[in-house]
Amino acid sequence: MSLLTVEGVVSGYGEMQVLRGVDLRVEDGEIVSIVGPNGAGKSTVMKLIFGLIKPWEGRVTFAGEDISGMAPEQIVRRGLCYVPQVDNVFPTLTVEENLEMGAYILDEPLKARKERIFELFPRLAERRNQRAGKMSGGERQMVAMGRALMLDPKLLMLDEPSAGLAPLLVDLIFEKVAEINETGVAVLMVEQNAKRSLELAHRGYVLATGKNQVEGPGAQLLGDPEVARLYLGG
């Protein structure tokens, strides 16, 4: 049984159809990357999985349970956490408070969980009392990822984690994604940096015009002329 499956999903915003039949799956412990041109519906897939928009057709299951149409607070309880691309921190809250918000549903002391995030991102430990809004883009991305990891999710969804970051920070973020994955967390990410993210991913999907066109192991997709035509080179 796959950890996450998306089957025949059609959806959009209001009257506008964006997804025209998307199928994908994530297995336990995998890194899966969705690449594709702008406007292909990559971010929309993420929002749909997380219940922020509803499927018109098709369904989403997580660990065997149908989660299409569930509220986010129910979804995070099941071990699926999400980092949006933009506005992914609480700017006037401190780093530590941002992390606490990620585990709001737990009625237990959060000290040990916070310390684990600080071990993963030592940079944040130094700045735990700083307001997230005053931090650099890379640090904010770490806060956002840390917040989503507070619940020890089985699957972490990242929407364009490297967007707008300096090359050195892009390296750091991809390293951290690999590190997180090594602890057993499956990762589903959307990336415009197709080459880097396919190198890292176990499997990838190429999404174009609201459908997934090609699926395969990351390295294979990178060498596929069809992928190059659709997206990478085309």
């Binding site: 700017p91 006037t92 809250l93 918000m101 990620g102 709001y104």
Partner: protein, 349 residues
């Protein structure tokens, strides 16, 4: 292109000037200037220093009451993104609910050298959660539906006005249009604060109680889980949902806190002055003036704004008819916004 050269320099200059003019310190400077003008005008008009000091003290007292209302306005605006024009009437409701509760309790003697007995304190303890529950109940039947339909802010404001009129009409029907007092004909003990400035012990209680509530709100927002979630929702409501924060529960606590503070504020205002069905309605403009002066949505700004507006309101009565007090407060707000549109605590620039 040579001729175009001086342009960037003048633009930089203009930007520098406007950033100085729009800074927080220039607003503080403006307020200081207003204070100076008031002091000069008072000496020119022969208003005694003691009287001015007395008015400032009264302004601080009024500021405490305004702060209780303003905190609720700014919290509700932060979490729910709506201008709650019914907030003043929640204060009226608190004041009259207390009157009803006190009328069924056996009257007691005055306690601790104050002008009121145990029954006022009992009413205070009961009224605060009651107004909170009413505020949440009204949200469920009116504002929540509009939020779910993503109605325009102006619709929300109109709905709030409707709620305000509704509450006031009920107060008129039940209690009548006349003034009312919690205690009639009871002596109200007075103490001398500094030489020549005398205040009633009740007023010291009012200030102490408002300050205590303000400290509690501070602790709630900075230390408690639900308080942090309120700030998180004010910051970024979508991310709050994505993080799994049960937003409806946070909305409940926002109304409970805002309503409780309004109820207490209304009771304290009624104790200091008198009860009238439109008492809270007339506080609405000063409340919004306080909140906007301090940057809407910012809790500490609301406090700063409330005390500023309270003092200006009272001090202005040395020069103009006391009925214009709230208007004087509003003029200060407008002047302040001309200098710094985002208010005292606003970001940017």
């Amino acid at each position: 292109m040579v001729g175009a050269r001086p342009l960037p320099r003048s633009r930089a200059l203009r930007r520098a000037v406007s950033s100085v003019l729009g800074s927080r310190w220039s607003l503080v400077g403006l307020l200081a200037l207003i204070a100076l003008v008031i002091v000069l005008a008072s000496s020119a008009q022969g208003v005694s220093g003691t009287r001015m000091l007395g008015l400032v003290v009264r302004g601080v007292l009024l500021g405490g009451v305004l702060a209780l209302g303003a905190l609720g306005v700014t919290l509700v605006h932060g979490v729910l993104k709506m201008a709650n024009f019914a907030h003043g009437d929640y204060m009226t409701l608190g004041a009259y609910l207390a009157l009803a509760i006190m009328s069924v309790l056996p009257p007691g003697r005055s306690v601790f050298g104050l002008g009121f007995g145990y029954e006022f304190l009992v009413a205070l303890v009961l009224v605060m959660p009651l107004v909170g529950l009413v505020a949440y109940g009204l949200d469920r039947v009116t504002f929540r539906r509009l939020r779910q339909r993503r109605s325009a802010p102006v619709m929300m404001a109109m709905a709030a006005l409707g709620v305000a009129f509704g509450i006031r009409s009920i107060v008129y029907m039940v209690f009548g249009a006349d003034f009312a007092f919690y205690y009639q004909g009871r002596p109200r003990p007075v103490v001398e604060l500094f030489s020549g400035v005398r205040v009633r012990t009740d007023q010291l209680f009012i200030l102490a109680f408002s300050l205590a509530l303000i400290v509690l709100v501070y602790l709630l927002l900075e230390r408690s889980k639900v308080g942090k979630a309120m700030r998180a929702m004010a910051d970024n409501p979508d991310l709050a949902r994505i993080s799994g924060i049960p937003t409806e529960r946070v909305v409940f606590w926002t109304w409970m806190v805002g309503g409780a503070l309004a109820g207490a504020g209304g009771m304290l205002y009624g104790l200091d002055v008198q009860l009238r069905p439109e008492m809270g309605w007339w506080l609405l403009l000063p409340l919004f003036a306080s909140v906007i002066l301090g940057t809407i949505g910012n809790v500490y700004g609301a406090l700063l704004g409330a005390f500023t507006i309270g003092i200006v309101w009272q001090v202005s009565t040395a020069f103009v008819n006391p009925a214009y007090g709230p208007a004087a407060a509003f003029v200060v707000m407008i002047l302040a916004l001309l200098v710094r549109p985002q208010g005292l605590m606003g970001g940017g620039r």
